[in-house]
Symmetry: D2
Subunit: 345 residues, 4 copies
Amino acid sequence: MILILSPHATDEQIDHVIRHVEDLGFQTHVSRGAFRTIVGVIGDEDKLSVEPLNAMPGVEKVVPVLPPYKLASLEAHPTPSIVDVAGVKIGGGHLAMIAGPCAVEGRDRMERIAESIRDAGANILRGGAFKPRTSPYSFQGLGEDGLKILRETGDKFGLPIVTEVMDPRCVELVAEYADMIQIGARNMQNFVLLTEVGKTQKPVLLKRGMSATITDLLMSAEYIMSQGNFGVVLCERGVKGFDNIARNLYDVASVAIVKGLSHLPIIVDPSHATGRPDLIPPCALAGIAAGADGVHIEVHDCPEEAKSDGPQALLPHQYAELADQIRKLAALFNKTISPPAGVAS
Amino acid sequence: MILILSPHATDEQIDHVIRHVEDLGFQTHVSRGAFRTIVGVIGDEDKLSVEPLNAMPGVEKVVPVLPPYKLASLEAHPTPSIVDVAGVKIGGGHLAMIAGPCAVEGRDRMERIAESIRDAGANILRGGAFKPRTSPYSFQGLGEDGLKILRETGDKFGLPIVTEVMDPRCVELVAEYADMIQIGARNMQNFVLLTEVGKTQKPVLLKRGMSATITDLLMSAEYIMSQGNFGVVLCERGVKGFDNIARNLYDVASVAIVKGLSHLPIIVDPSHATGRPDLIPPCALAGIAAGADGVHIEVHDCPEEAKSDGPQALLPHQYAELADQIRKLAALFNKTISPPAGVAS
Amino acid sequence: MILILSPHATDEQIDHVIRHVEDLGFQTHVSRGAFRTIVGVIGDEDKLSVEPLNAMPGVEKVVPVLPPYKLASLEAHPTPSIVDVAGVKIGGGHLAMIAGPCAVEGRDRMERIAESIRDAGANILRGGAFKPRTSPYSFQGLGEDGLKILRETGDKFGLPIVTEVMDPRCVELVAEYADMIQIGARNMQNFVLLTEVGKTQKPVLLKRGMSATITDLLMSAEYIMSQGNFGVVLCERGVKGFDNIARNLYDVASVAIVKGLSHLPIIVDPSHATGRPDLIPPCALAGIAAGADGVHIEVHDCPEEAKSDGPQALLPHQYAELADQIRKLAALFNKTISPPAGVAS
Amino acid sequence: MILILSPHATDEQIDHVIRHVEDLGFQTHVSRGAFRTIVGVIGDEDKLSVEPLNAMPGVEKVVPVLPPYKLASLEAHPTPSIVDVAGVKIGGGHLAMIAGPCAVEGRDRMERIAESIRDAGANILRGGAFKPRTSPYSFQGLGEDGLKILRETGDKFGLPIVTEVMDPRCVELVAEYADMIQIGARNMQNFVLLTEVGKTQKPVLLKRGMSATITDLLMSAEYIMSQGNFGVVLCERGVKGFDNIARNLYDVASVAIVKGLSHLPIIVDPSHATGRPDLIPPCALAGIAAGADGVHIEVHDCPEEAKSDGPQALLPHQYAELADQIRKLAALFNKTISPPAGVAS
């Protein structure tokens, strides 16, 4: 950690800062320049990071040298982690092909969609039973009934299932049904929920918040991991941008940035990132080309009847075409798509 | 609601759209232009807004005419609402002067700070017992012990108290102690928490999320109000910007925008919006000049010892100076600062 | 064009609006709803777009139906345009492989770099002679000497050249030397410069401004095209984001968005978009996968000696590896990389 | 300047960096920590800033200690500068009251508006003769005819005039007519234009670019000042935001941030910042409360006939009311509004 002192810092203030840091058990290296004094601090930065050094008189800026996340960092685990979702591997060269409707709407529809995505080559089925809706007057999901339908559909078609949890009081319930638990973008910094999910041993799909930095995202993964649950898969799904021509701004570089900082797998969700079916295929392919460990795509057989986010879904045949292209790209980059246990490879 | 059809929409698609809308019980007005057909839809837009019309083949864009919030809108309540926090009025010409430390750290410190802000003219005391921290390794608050200290300090100095709740399981507990419940920026779209808080009858301080649009903010207020709790005070506290010279981008215009759309009071929080003590006074004054119904300021007697966010706090004497300027500005704009019940006016 | 009138619009205001629009020679379709009146306007929207209808009393919102650009639109030219840069084709299935140093620094270095990128498979050589630098104290480029070196190097290695122009007074000079003229991101809305470049018949590489919407970008292309120069190639090079972990936010979806609106080719520049050599290869591949018509990459043989933007350049051998991967991807997507006239295919 | 070396930097790389810096004539202070080595560099940072140290192998990050601007910095000139525009003072306690139409449209209208704003208390008249329009098909301004009308109107009503220049070839022409030259937001990083304007001795109104950081803004001022022209007045006019409810995001904190870094005056332009007449008065007052040295407001007597940006203008009587409130606020903050030479105080 480096302390840059203010040009107007008095000798007394400088001495106070140095003594304070040394009293905490750290070594200091002081460089007095023509304009400013710089204090290099040597020791365990973690312990120091909780000290409000930037509030000390005379301190202008604190420059951390180490990242604030530990368990999620590449230093802690220098090779890519592989997360296992009921037999389907994600990361380390294995691609997740997650697909399904935004919300679980009913058994028949769920089965039709599940069959179509399984046939197209998806290896995990998604569907929301608890829906975060911006309006209190919109469809909020089928709740436990939705979980049951999703579970039974997954079992029928041999696909592991992932579904979102919004309420810390429902984590146990969702964990009973699901193979993987999703934390939505709006809850990425719901620390209570992260902690609760961290106490389960279910893999977690952690979606990036709409204005979360990469450091924020990795700190949220750290919350889950600090509870003992290491099965975290990150997901880029677009950030807020100034151009409303698409729903969000798809940050494909985040995939490569994460790869340089963390061992955790990261997938992309072009459905939520763009909100436009015409942009989903090019953005999905871009994600794989950038090194993503999978794609999360919404698929619906009749978007105009969808109870939630119909317009951002692909039709089953569009998904099948895209999956085909993804397989070709995967082959080019030596990636594997592990078939679900219930599906013959 | 207006439907703009695609230039390539077929007659069959156009008819399908019109029939569908009319079957739902709405009237249509169709304008066929040289390039495009436009369908004006007349009827209760609320009922229509839950239909995925933009997923219908041939529909290019859906332009809503009415805002998606109802209870929060100026149409529902054309005069400014006044929220009463244990006798302190906010809105309709009454300014909230909320001040206190980021976190409750201990009884002595809390009392020292409470006394200083009361003497400076604050009318509500703040302090966090449950702290949303980006790092799982940072101080997370004193929990119920913090609530007790805050309550007793408020009582001792005659100040109503506001404190944050993060966990839906703690809403009842926090409501027992607090006069006003705060929803933090990171939880602005934690719909489970909003619903839970909406079931209490305590006034709510709802902070704007870091990438929430004004519509998002009002929709979150709507969540609380739809449960029967109408005592919502909004709070602008900065949004994400591209320049990291200050923590966030303080969106002072949001105050005036909200005033044109909603009857709910809106205050400003320049401490979180800027993260820099030197920017707090000018931004607080700017907020009042823009029409805000109060200011929320962090005050700490020794920022370098603060367990959370020390650098963004004012010292007690700095707060006193600022409060003095705010009073002058309030007088100029004919605003009142209602003294807390426990403090002689 | 649709006019949404205010809920408080008086009958007199509504009549005034309708009469005004009809006096201008347009037909109107009026829908009077319970809350609001909507006026659909039928006729040539271009003529209407220059009228300040949204300033009329009673008008709340003007919703245009057609895009403001014409020559750049897919309606004007429904198949992809192919731009020819001294024999190298860009667009319509042909990929541009533009590479070279940020600035022309001297003949020897230029030749070394040109040789290496030609051998790696680049088909256009870049290099700045006039450099837009944020500091007046930084290296500003070699000016005409730089142009000469670039031209002679291009000729020696059989590569067409592209270089930036910043000053309308230099357009003629640059056009004498260059095969393609670059408009930098900071000048994307320098309408004087766009007009001047539009008067030449040289192909133009138009970089997207750091906070330009897609519509802004296409409007700037329209400026050039409206002068008679149709050889415009767009370039995505990152927009401003809130996370300073990379220089800019690489908006790969813009490629697919442009493809749905315009016939103009669009390439990507991951060097400027990210400012980090480790992110250039994944982002370049992502761009091609998203449908880009080429990549623009900075290459330098000794970044630590570069006079400008050294840290964002690839080393020649890194570029060669990337070019190899791009060729494989191009083959997968049936794209062609046309060899420069001076280089045997 | 501080160099943070990579955790994987070899001893050889570290030695190479140190030797390189010392060869350039700087002193180094090396701190070898458990994880990383830090090199403090002592000497004239300006000379160092042009060296691409961050491209050296083993260097992870370069942390500058001094700002890159010099002449614009508070260190260079620790008291506020006062810029004199034909007798009207801006800065150091003197407020600019700049008002007028977006574009000069004709003599009669110009005179009507000038008279009204003079009577309301404005001290500088604005009006565009060269207009930067996003569409090549929009009204581009009256050119030199507009300059003449503006000059003669200013003279008739005793008001200094400010007008925009877009083309470096027109700087001399504009300087002949105008008392103050405006650089528009889209040209804030048009370095050719900045340099040309810096060669005149006319005061410059430099508008902040829509995605310019405060450092970018001050660097653009530095460009002008480095040519010998020190009369620069900065102007905040909104940055790009994610919420399209107003045109831009008005960054009122920028006023206070600039005051802490630079001696240059800074004013606010709520017309362009918001694009909505209802938001102009609250945002103007907020700017003054935040410490701005003036306000720039568009005024038009018939917005529905305006040839450019009608909807963002105030009507003359609205401006008069606002000016009245600004005067009261100015009195509260001990600011002076110097009357133009041609107007009796």
